[in-house]
C-alpha cells in the first residue's frame, strides 16, 4: 500500500484522489458549497435577479421576531419528541417480540417492512381517507365507540397528531430493523447465565437486554432525531401547515418564507438556525446519553 506505516501522513494519498473525486465532488458542489452560500444569503437582502445588499443580522432579527417561527419551532420539537420516542418504544417492543420466537418469522418481517416502501404521498392519501371527517372509517369507528373523532383539518393539535402518526407509520420499519438486528447480536449465553441465576424476565430486560442494546438505541435515536427534524412532506401533504399556519414545522415555515412570501433572507436565516438546532440536538443528546451510560457502568 502507498501509505507508509506509522508515518502519520495527514494528507490524502494521491492514488486515492481519483476514487474520492466523484463522491466528494457531488457532496461539495451540491451540499457543502451551497450551505456556505446560505450564510451569505442570510446576511444579505435580495430577491431573485436583483443585486444583493449586505444587511447584517437584519434577516435573523426578522426571522426571530416572527411569531410563526416560534410556533413552527415548538411544533417541530413536539412532533420530533413524540415521533422518535414512540418509534423507539414500539420498535424495541417489536424487536423483543420477534426475538422471543415467532412462527413464520420471515413472512412477518416482510409485513413489518412494507411501510418502508410506501411513499409519503401514497401514505398521505390513505391517512387522509382513513381519517376523513365524514367518511373516514377510523373516524366513523371512533364515533361508533362514543369517542370524539380526530378533527385534524380543523383542530391544530389533531393536525399535529395525525402528522406524527403518519411519520411513525412510515419510519417504524427502520427503527425496528436497527433494534432487532442489535437484539439478535446479543450473545445467547448472557440470557442463559441470567436464567441459571434465577433472574426474572423483567430483571433480564433491565440488566441484560437494555445495556446490550444501548448503543443501537442511541444510533437509532440520533438517526431519527436528525431525520425527523427535517419533517416536511408529511405536514405539507396533510395540512400544508394550516389551519391559519398553526401546524407549520420549521421546514414548512422556511419553504413558505422563501417561495410564497418572498422573504428569501429570512428563510436563509431560518435555515442556518435549523442547522444549528439540529447540531445542538444531536450533540447534546449524545453527550447526555454517554454520561448516563458511563455512570451506569461504574
Amino acid at each position: 500500500m502507498a501509505s507508509g506505516r506509522g508515518r502519520g501522513q495527514s494528507w490524502l494519498p494521491a492514488a486515492a484522489l481519483p476514487f474520492l473525486a466523484p463522491a466528494h465532488g457531488l457532496v461539495l458542489g451540491v451540499i457543502a458549497l451551497p450551505a456556505l452560500y446560505v450564510v451569505w444569503l442570510s446576511v444579505t437582502s435580495s430577491t431573485f435577479g436583483k443585486a444583493p445588499t449586505f444587511v447584517g443580522l437584519a434577516n435573523y432579527i426578522q426571522a426571530l421576531s416572527d411569531p410563526y417561527f416560534w410556533r413552527a419551532l415548538a411544533n417541530t420539537i413536539v412532533v420530533v419528541l413524540v415521533v422518535v420516542h414512540v418509534e423507539l418504544v414500539l420498535g424495541l417492543g417489536m424487536a423483543l417480540l420477534f426475538a422471543s420466537g415467532l412462527p413464520a418469522r420471515p413472512l412477518l418481517l416482510a409485513a413489518v417492512l412494507m411501510p418502508y416502501a410506501v411513499s409519503e404521498v401514497s401514505a398521505a392519501v390513505i391517512f387522509r381517507f382513513l381519517f376523513d371527517a365524514d367518511v373516514g372509517p377510523v373516524n366513523v369507528a371512533l364515533q361508533a365507540l362514543g369517542l370524539p373523532p380526530l378533527e385534524w383539518s380543523v383542530v391544530p393539535a389533531h393536525g399535529l397528531a395525525i402528522v406524527a402518526l403518519l411519520s411513525i407509520w412510515l419510519h417504524l420499519p427502520f427503527t425496528f430493523i436497527i433494534l432487532y438486528a442489535a437484539r439478535l447480536a446479543v450473545p445467547a449465553q448472557l440470557y442463559e447465565a441470567a436464567r441459571i441465576d434465577g433472574v426474572s424476565a423483567l430483571q433480564a430486560f433491565r440488566y441484560v437486554t437494555l445495556p446490550q442494546l444501548m448503543p443501537a438505541i442511541v444510533v437509532a435515536m440520533l438517526f431519527r432525531y436528525i431525520f425527523a427534524f427535517r419533517l416536511f412532506s408529511e405536514v405539507w401533504l396533510m395540512t400544508q401547515g394550516g389551519p391559519a399556519r398553526s401546524t407549520e414545522v420549521l421546514a414548512v415555515h422556511l419553504y413558505l418564507d422563501a417561495f410564497r412570501f418572498n422573504a428569501f433572507g429570512a428563510a436563509a436565516a431560518t435555515g442556518w438556525l435549523m442547522v444549528l438546532i439540529s447540531l445542538v440536538l444531536g450533540a447534546g443528546y449524545l453527550w447526555v446519553l454517554r454520561r448516563q451510560m458511563t455512570s451506569d457502568a461504574s
Binding site: M1, Q9, W11, P22, A23, L97, M114, V121
Partner: protein
C-alpha cells in the same frame, strides 16, 4: 405454569395481529379501494364483498394521462440516481477501505458531517443556482440531488462491504501490474456485488418515492409520479377518491413488490449502514 404460558401465547397472538393490521391494513386499503366501485368505497362498515372494477384505472388513464409520463420520469430519475450513487459510492468506499491515514479519516468524517444539513436548507441556495444553470425541470437535477444525498451513507456502506474482501487479492493484482481501476472493476466490484445491491435498493426506494426535491425543482417535463398524486389530492373540489387510489396503487405496487423481492439486501444494508456508520 400452564395458565401463564397460555397467557403469553394469547398476548403474542394479539401483538402480532396488531402489528400486521398496523403495517398492512393501510396498504391493503389503498389497493382494494382502487378496484372497488365508487359507491362501495365509502360504505360503512367497509364492504369486503364487491364486484371488482377497473373503472378507476380507466378514468386515471383518460383524465390524468400526465400521471403516466410522471411514472416514466420517476423511472428515469430512479435509474440515473441509482447508477450515479452506486458508482460514486463504490469508488469512494474502495478508497476508504484500502487507504487509511488521518487525512482519509478526516475526509470520511467530512462526508458524514455534511449529511447533518437538512435538505430544505440546501434548497434555498440551489434554487437560484439551478435556475441559473437552466437545469430547472430536468431529470438531471433530480438525479444529481438524489445521488448526492445517498453518497455519504453509500460510501460507508460500501467500505463496510469492501473491508470484508481480503487485501491480499488486490495486492496480488497490483504486483501483477494491474491498475487500481482495473482492480476495482475486476476484483472488488464482483466481490462486493451484495453491497452494491443493498445500496441500490436504498436509492431506488428513495428516488421512486421522493417528494420535496421533485416538488421544488420540477414542474412539467421532469415531474415525477408522486407529484401528480399530490396534485390530485390538492384539487379538493373534484376529489375523486377512486382515481386517487388507482394512482397510488400504480405508484406503490411496483416498489412494494421490489422491496419484498430484495428484502434481505435491504435489511443487510440498513444494519451495516447504521451500525458501522
Amino acid at each position: 405454569m400452564r395458565a401463564d404460558r397460555s397467557i403469553v401465547v394469547i398476548g403474542k397472538v394479539l401483538a402480532v395481529t396488531a402489528i400486521l393490521i398496523w403495517s398492512l391494513a393501510p396498504i391493503a386499503f389503498i389497493v382494494v379501494s382502487a378496484v372497488k366501485p365508487s359507491a362501495d368505497i365509502f360504505a360503512v362498515p367497509p364492504r369486503l364483498t364487491f364486484v371488482p372494477t377497473l373503472k378507476h384505472f380507466a378514468d386515471l388513464w383518460s383524465q390524468w394521462r400526465g400521471f403516466f409520463n410522471g411514472l416514466v420520469n420517476s423511472a428515469i430519475v430512479t435509474a440515473g440516481a441509482t447508477l450515479l450513487a452506486v458508482g460514486a459510492s463504490t469508488m469512494a468506499g474502495y478508497a476508504y477501505s484500502r487507504f487509511r491515514n488521518p487525512g482519509m479519516a478526516r475526509s470520511a468524517l467530512f462526508l458524514v458531517a455534511v449529511r447533518l444539513l437538512p435538505p430544505i436548507v440546501i434548497i434555498l441556495p440551489l434554487f437560484p443556482m439551478v435556475n441559473w444553470l437552466r437545469l430547472n425541470d430536468t431529470h438531471l437535477v433530480l438525479i444529481v440531488l438524489y445521488a448526492t444525498f445517498f453518497v455519504s451513507l453509500g460510501t460507508l456502506l460500501m467500505r463496510a462491504f469492501i473491508d470484508q474482501i481480503p487485501r491480499e487479492l488486490d495486492e496480488a493484482a497490483l504486483v501483477d501490474g494491474a491498475s487500481r481501476f482495473t482492480i476495482l472493476r475486476r476484483v472488488i466490484m464482483p466481490l462486493s456485488a451484495q453491497g452494491m445491491l443493498a445500496l441500490a435498493v436504498f436509492v431506488i426506494v428513495f428516488a421512486w418515492n421522493e417528494f420535496l426535491f421533485a416538488f421544488v425543482f420540477t414542474s412539467t417535463r421532469a415531474k415525477t409520479a408522486p407529484l401528480f398524486i399530490a396534485e390530485m389530492m390538492g384539487s379538493l373540489d373534484s376529489f375523486d377518491w377512486g382515481v386517487l387510489f388507482a394512482a397510488s396503487t400504480v405508484q406503490l405496487l411496483p416498489i412494494v413488490v421490489f422491496v419484498l423481492a430484495t428484502q434481505k439486501h435491504l435489511v443487510a444494508g440498513m444494519t451495516a449502514g447504521a451500525i458501522k456508520g
